[in-house]
């Protein structure tokens, strides 16, 4: 992985870290869910990036799966906390 690649990973890593901070701080489920959403979105981006770095096309599918699951996950949580499930 090139320096350029490392920079990207570094910045995205900081983003991940910040979302974890919010996840820990909360202070409630919604805040944590938002943080989780951010976390997964950043992860999806990282997945795709790693697919490129490792030259594994198939990781993109993994990223897509991840995106789908996180999307549905957020919806489930949202509906759950507003007592819609």
């Amino acid at each position: 992985m090139s320096v350029l690649g490392w920079i990207y990973v570094g910045v995205a890593g900081v983003a991940l870290l910040l979302s974890v901070v919010r996840m820990i701080k909360g202070p409630d489920v919604t805040n944590r869910t938002v943080a989780l959403d951010v976390f997964t979105t950043v992860s999806v981006a990282l997945f795709v990036f790693f697919a490129m770095v490792f030259d594994r096309y198939i990781y993109i599918d993994v990223a897509l799966v991840y995106a789908i699951l996180s999307f549905i996950g957020v919806l489930v949580v949202a509906r759950f906390i507003e007592r819609g499930l």
Partner: protein, 115 residues
């Protein structure tokens, strides 16, 4: 060469907004404003990153576009759901909030729910 520059531009542009989104997530005072930051910025960040990868790896371009579209399509749905859930469960608005028409908006719902 141009392709690579363009690709890395998108990539870093994305990275920057990924960072901004999560920074806003930490910095903003209430959930609603945090979501303002996170929804837009992270989505754009991821979108841009994925497109960047597509540009750097032209064989994958279409695939990357698929992923990007999916992100763009679904992110606002999630945010919207989450924000309403937050409001309904009484997550507080920041004190700087100037107007809240939601009470009025949800009043009818609550009447129905009370039944």
């Amino acid at each position: 060469m141009l392709r690579e520059i363009l690709g890395y531009f998108f990539l870093y542009f994305g990275a920057a907004f990924l960072f901004l989104g999560s920074y806003g997530l930490v910095r903003f005072p209430d959930l609603y404003t945090r979501m303002q930051a996170s929804t837009k910025s992270t989505t754009l960040g991821a979108f841009s990153s994925v497109i960047g990868v597509g540009i750097l790896h032209p064989d994958w371009f279409i695939k990357c576009i698929s992923v990007a579209i999916f992100i763009l399509l679904t992110a606002p749905i999630g945010s919207s759901a989450l924000m309403r859930a937050a409001y309904k469960t009484g997550v507080p608005l920041d004190e700087r909030t100037v107007v809240d028409e939601a009470k009025d908006f949800f009043a009818e719902d609550e009447k129905e729910e009370a039944k």
